[in-house]
Amino acid sequence: MDHFARLGLPAALDLDAAALDRAYFALQRQWHPDRFVAKPPEDRVRASAEAASVNEAYRTLKDPLSRAFYMAGMAGVDLPGDGKTIDDPDLLMEAMEAREALHDADTPEAVDKLAVEARQDVHKALAELASLFLANDRAAIRKTLLRLRYLDKFAEEARARRMNIDRSNA
């Protein structure tokens, strides 16, 4: 059973967050081990396994990026593992320029500006993905997902840089 089916939701990139939460809470009410404290051991083992699967489905689908990667996997898109070198020259150039800009940003405001831009790029790329999935354009899905993965990493680096600046100002 795929994660969408487990939660009883349509396999869509633009999943309704509230519907996801509702489905998740209902299933946890049914399967959470706290509801099985007084049950025989075999029931408790089953409940724990069910609750864990529901958690895994929820965790995978909740974050839009991880949801997109999961859907790409379902669509048979071949993605390189995390941490592999970037094989797209455009993306490589974009990444290098962005890193340089981050390196030069030495005020919290400057770092925040870069982080906000990265977030906007994420939203734009996710919006593009929806139509690519509809067209089942695997090459384009792959290219966009790799760019999303890079943007996500960049946001993380911006956060670390921001923290360092805050710390040295404190």
């Binding site: 809470f25 049914q30 706290d34 404290v37 007084a38 409940a47 958690n55 895994e56 965790r59 404190a170």
Partner: protein, 631 residues
């Protein structure tokens, strides 16, 4: 008469329900512990005869025999310091790396491991005792209090742990409960329990933060409350940061001030405990006044100290700043900003410190919620959960893993399998392969922590997967699965999947302390012991020399004319040599110069004595003389 009861799936009452055995909630704290019970959704802390809910988490093994817990144990701190142990929670499931964090707070002798568990053991009351045994005594006392108050047997409990407690510390807590004869219904994270106490009271909805600063640990958690569901979104903390650090900062200053006054203290266990006790008192006083003072007595020598709120704030500012940094990280982990937070709940006695309140309010932009006693709120939440687990109830607690769990891969790098803030229970797996032709075994090393290198993470378990059939490198498919249960406890399994020959190993992490760790720990403590001893002897020599010089000065002022110019010059020169030696670090030089000065001034002392006797005798009656001698 009820012939048949119908229950929703999963909501059947326990077989024991109605048999008179009750389930309580226990906050097993670093400084204080509390036991509480909930009935019909209303929790109450259980009090002793004098009406107090807090049981100091102090255990004593008195010379006279038996075991004492709480105030009675604390009363023995001054008379039998070696038989009293406090803040044991800091050592639950602890290893060598964490021990220096508690040094000074726990001046106890550490025992070498027995080889069975490799858990830290302390020599208390003349015997090696594990933190599990010592914590079990606190739990037994809480259980006895509950049984006395409820007049029924108590065999089951929900026990709270800091959200940031790692696997070893959680296992140790469960073991302690078992030793105390309590079945643990669930280990619940302290901040979650606190939110439960608040949420049910107020029917709150939205995003809430729990800032929990106790005696020894700090936790910050973000929870979403919605229609009876308590969903933890993210959590973070530090297991070696708390009010004890505030006490230590004050104590260091007190001892410093005494040194400044020329008092030479032997800074031993008793002195440290006395300084810490006064420090705690001064800290508490500063919660509602701007200035406090106190009297410290070490080895019969008193000193008086004052401390202003401003000075105290400056001393603890860096600790508070660290808690805010952790809090902001947790917010970022959940993808939230401070503005999204509806309210922040303060938990733990250390949140009474005004600076903490101001800074937390400043970060969230709202005054914190403090209407439930921060010392009791966790136990009250645990009691509610105990009731929910035994009698049904509609509350649902969805918690997360506090720390990432992973495996060591080539080059000592960590491959994370279960990232932090994963909802529990969780079951995650990853496939690995062999890197050599014909490789028949694979070493599996389970670690916990956020760092990239194994050396910086906490080692939980090591085991070997044996019997892998001979294959070319990279052909085997070894699946390692991690299961984290609802108590946050981990089980790891590994199997080879291509051949169907399922070699399966299950591992419950141990206390994570290897023999090497233990040896290092012992060497460290011995090294420090020598340095400490040398420093003490040097200080003693300086003080002794200073005392000699002061006596000589007084004598010279009074009877300097008894000396010839030559004699006086010699004494002055030797005195100068002694003063130079006192500024240095050599105890031998100080002692040699002091001895030379004493030899040189001996004739002077004798002459003074002679003269003193002659003066005293001249024109005095026998009665005068006797009263003089008696002075």
């Amino acid at each position: 008469m009820t012939l048949l009861e119908i229950h929703e799936p999963g909501e059947t009452p326990l077989p024991h329900a109605g048999e008179g055995s009750l389930a309580v909630g226990i906050d097993l704290g670093t400084t204080n512990s509390v036991v509480a019970i909930a009935r019909d959704g209303t929790p109450a802390a259980l009090h002793d005869e004098t009406g107090r809910a807090l049981v100091p988490s102090v255990v004593a093994y008195p010379e006279a025999g038996g075991v004492l817990v709480g105030d009675q144990a604390r009363a023995l701190v001054s008379s039998e310091p070696r038989n009293v142990v406090a803040s044991i929670k800091r050592l639950m499931g602890r290893g060598a790396a964490d021990l220096h964090a508690v040094a000074g707070v726990l001046p106890y002798e550490v025992e070498p491991g027995t080889g069975q568990t490799d858990m830290v053991k302390l020599r208390i009351g003349g015997r090696a005792r594990s933190p599990v045994e010592i914590s079990a005594e606190i739990l037994k006392a809480l259980r006895a209090r509950a049984e006395a108050a409820l007049e029924k047997p108590v065999e089951r409990a929900v026990i709270t742990v800091p959200a940031y407690f790692d696997d070893a510390a959680r296992t140790a807590t469960r073991d302690a409960a078992r030793v105390a004869g309590l079945e643990v219904l669930r280990l619940v994270n302290e901040p979650t329990a606190a939110a439960l106490a608040y949420g049910l009271d107020k029917g709150s909805e939205g995003l809430y933060a729990v800032y929990d600063l106790g005696g020894g640990t700090f936790d910050f958690s973000l929870l979403r409350l919605e229609k009876g569901v308590f969903q933890v979104l993210a959590t973070g903390g530090d297991t070696a940061l708390g009010g004890d650090d505030f006490d230590r900062a004050i104590a260091e200053r007190l001892l410093e001030e005494r040194k400044g006054d020329g008092l030479a203290d032997e800074v031993d266990e008793t002195a440290v405990k006395a300084a810490l006790a006064l420090s705690r008192h001064m800290k508490e006083q500063l919660s509602d006044r701007d200035q406090t003072s106190g009297r410290l007595e070490i080895a019969g020598v008193p000193s008086f100290h004052t401390l202003t709120r401003e000075e105290f704030d400056a001393m603890v500012d860096s600790h508070v700043a660290r808690t805010l940094e952790i809090s902001r990280n947790v917010l970022a982990d959940a993808g939230m900003g401070a503005a999204d937070v509806e309210g922040v709940v303060l938990v733990g006695g250390s949140t009474r410190v005004p600076l903490v309140r101001t800074k937390v309010a400043g970060m969230i932009g709202k005054p914190p919620l403090t209407d439930i006693d921060p010392d009791e709120v966790v136990a009250l939440g645990a009691a509610l959960q105990a009731e929910a687990l035994t009698g049904g109830g509609d509350t649902l607690l969805l918690d997360v893993t506090p720390l990432s769990l992973g495996l060591e891969t080539m080059g000592g790098i960590v491959e994370k399998i279960v990232p932090r803030n994963t909802p529990i229970p969780a079951q995650l797996a990853q496939d690995f392969t062999t890197y050599q032709d014909g490789q028949s075994a694979m070493s599996i090393h389970v670690v916990q922590g956020e760092r990239e290198m194994v050396a910086d993470c906490r080692s939980l378990a090591r085991f070997e997967l044996l019997g892998i059939p001979p294959m070319t490198a990279g052909a085997a498919r070894i699946r390692v699965s991690f299961a984290v249960d609802a108590d946050g406890l981990l089980t790891v399994a590994a199997e080879e999947r291509t051949t169907g020959v399922a070699q399966r190993v299950e591992v419950k992490p141990s206390y994570g302390l290897s023999h090497e760790d233990m040896a290092d720990m012992l060497y460290d403590s011995m090294d420090n012991a020598e340095a400490d001893m040398n420093l003490r002897l040097l200080t003693e020599a300086r003080v002794e020399a200073r005392r000699g010089i002061l006596a000589l000065e007084a004598a010279l002022a009074k009877d300097g004319k008894l000396l010839s110019g030559e004699e006086r010059a010699a004494i002055d020169a030797t005195r100068a040599r002694l003063e130079t030696a006192m500024e240095g670090e050599s105890r031998d030089e100080i002692n040699a110069a002091a001895e030379a000065l004493e030899t040189l001034s001996k004739p002077f002392a004798e002459r003074r004595m002679d003269r003193g006797i002659r003066e005293a005798l001249s024109g005095m009656s026998m009665g005068d003389l006797e009263s003089r001698v008696g002075e």
